[in-house]
């Protein structure tokens, strides 16, 4: 991938709960901040792509941003909404269609676990009626088996959450800004064994926008840019174990994250050992642990040693989820994947404030995973 596409502006509307402000308004806020960061106007944008899962279409933003006739593609792609928007914006620049493009994601969800309709997922009604169609159960079932197979302790799950809240306390766009101690996390009410209340992220609100440009434009503007070394978005392979599965093939098939991760590393000609900072999907504590291995950063079971030694802390061997991840930021689904890229951009620019990874990080890795089995990885370099 030698298209030389750069992120030259990054904007965010703080995650969490903002009463009285729609999801889309939070997206507009993020776009304005990203344009201002890039030193550009909305009229300079040659292509836009974005969306939400629960807050409507993105192109209505032109009511607020300006009627410039810009082509604006709406994305409604579940957890991959942000990744898809970024891919479209990337391709618009790479193809030579325009010099400047915007990717935006936003959302505003109701409180409490997501409730899904069996029919919308092609599943029979009894599956929902009997109480087996919950995303939280899938995460618990996947980590429970993983813990048994690879010797991961319950305390390791707690340490992931403890790290998330510690990092979130340092991050101005995070929702949860107070540290939570390990005892409180371990002794909190159980949601789905082995995961307690503090080990799950919550549906939330927020917006993120990124301004992309080609190399010529970046030089012309003298921007503080970060290169997109690769993006890989993949859907699930046959037989993979995913959310909402009344049955699984035996033996199960591959994993979408492994496929996307390998593709992204190969396209960027970068190895896991080269990565300086990583944002990995942490819908719950177990997901971060399993995704460390699925993305190639460690072998199955080594996470226990990583967490005991603090290797994934800011200042550790590979800082993971430096802004507190989904656990501390919450999950506005349409914005969540772009938040990860935003965080890497700020880390590589040295603008991450109290949570800045030391040693001038040069390679940032982000990974989003979601229903019904898809994964998007982006690698950015400086």
């Amino acid at each position: 991938m030698n298209a030389n596409v750069h992120i030259i502006g990054a904007g965010i509307h703080r995650f969490g709960r903002t009463e009285g402000r729609s999801g889309r308004a939070q997206g507009v806020h993020a776009v304005r901040e990203a344009l201002s960061d890039a030193g550009l106007e909305w009229a300079d944008v040659g292509f836009a792509s974005g969306g939400s899962v629960a807050s409507g279409a993105a192109d209505i933003m032109i009511n607020d941003l300006g009627f410039t006739s810009v082509p604006f593609i709406n994305v409604h792609n579940g957890c991959a909404t942000g990744g898809s928007a970024l891919t479209s914006a990337y391709n618009a620049i790479a193809s030579g269609m325009c010099d400047v493009a915007v990717a935006v994601g936003f959302d505003k969800h109701e409180r409490g676990a997501f409730n899904a309709s069996p029919k919308a997922y092609g599943l029979p009604a009894w599956y929902g009626e009997t109480g087996m169609m919950l995303t939280t159960q899938f995460f618990a079932l996947k980590i429970q088996r993983y813990m048994q197979l690879y010797g991961i302790s319950r305390e390791a799950l707690g340490k992931v959450a403890e790290k998330a809240f510690r990092n979130g306390a340092l991050c101005d766009h995070a929702w949860r800004r107070s540290p939570v101690d390990l005892d409180t996390i371990m002794n909190a009410p159980m949601v789905n064994d082995p995961l307690t209340k503090y080990m799950f992220c919550s549906p939330a609100e927020g917006g993120v926008a990124l301004v992309l440009a080609n190399e010529k434009k970046m030089r012309e503007l003298g921007s503080d840019g970060v290169k997109i070394a690769s993006i890989a978005f993949r859907t699930r392979p046959e037989g993979s174990f995913e959310v909402f599965a009344p049955s699984i093939r035996t033996p199960p098939g591959g994993k979408p994250t492994e496929i996307a991760s390998r593709a992204a590393f190969e396209l960027a000609a970068i190895a896991p050992g080269d990565v300086d900072v990583a944002q990995l999907q942490d819908t719950e504590s177990g997901a971060e642990i399993m995704h460390m291995a699925e993305n190639g950063f460690c072998a199955d079971g080594d996470q226990e040693e990583w967490l005991a030694n603090g290797w994934s802390e800011i200042g550790g061997r590979l800082p993971i989820n430096t802004d507190g991840g989904c656990l501390a930021c919450g999950e506005p689904v349409g914005a969540s994947g772009l938040r990860q890229v935003y965080e890497n951009v700020q880390q590589l620019r040295g603008r991450a404030g109290d949570r800045q990874v030391p040693g001038d990080p040069k390679v940032g890795y982000s990974h989003v995973y979601g229903a019904p089995g898809l994964s998007a990885v982006a690698i950015v370099t400086r």
């Binding site: 069996p118 009626e129 009997t130 109480g131 159960q137 048994q148 789905n192 064994d193 049955s247 093939r249």
Partner: protein, 133 residues
């Protein structure tokens, strides 16, 4: 022998045969892959097959909070166990787990199918640790 729950209406038709022994009904696709339940759509080339009434525990969890709709369980809500049971050489099925407590569950332990009451008038399928006579 039919148990008491089997006299109730099944939560859905075609999920299991009463036997004995009661067994889930799956579908074998043209490529040999077995799925559960038998698919409602695109089932022209899928053969209905009776699955093994016993298997081994693949994973498990508890449901501690009351799910939102379309969950239709009894009120007030009672937490329950669920998991995946591997039916050797066939398929791994998701199921409620009954007649045990979570601390007794172990990866790979033998499990058997049982039909249990779901609410006051319907029954559903579940697995429980194998009870040797």
């Amino acid at each position: 022998m039919r148990n008491k729950a089997q006299a109730m209406a099944p939560i859905a038709k075609g999920l299991w045969s009463d036997g004995p022994p009661a067994s889930l009904i799956g579908g074998r696709k043209e490529n040999g892959e077995i799925v559960f339940p038998f698919p409602e759509e695109f089932s022209e080339n899928v053969d209905a097959i009776v699955l093994s009434p016993s298997g081994t525990l693949w994973s498990w969890t508890s449901q501690e909070f009351e799910p939102k709709a379309p969950f239709a369980g009894l009120k007030p809500f009672v937490p329950f166990l669920l998991g995946y049971i591997e039916l050797a050489g066939e398929v791994i099925v998701e199921s409620r787990i009954v007649d045990t407590t979570i601390d007794k569950l172990r990866l790979g332990m033998p499990m058997e199918l049982v039909i249990v009451p779901f609410d006051d008038h319907r029954c559903t399928y579940a697995f429980r640790p194998e009870q040797r006579a």
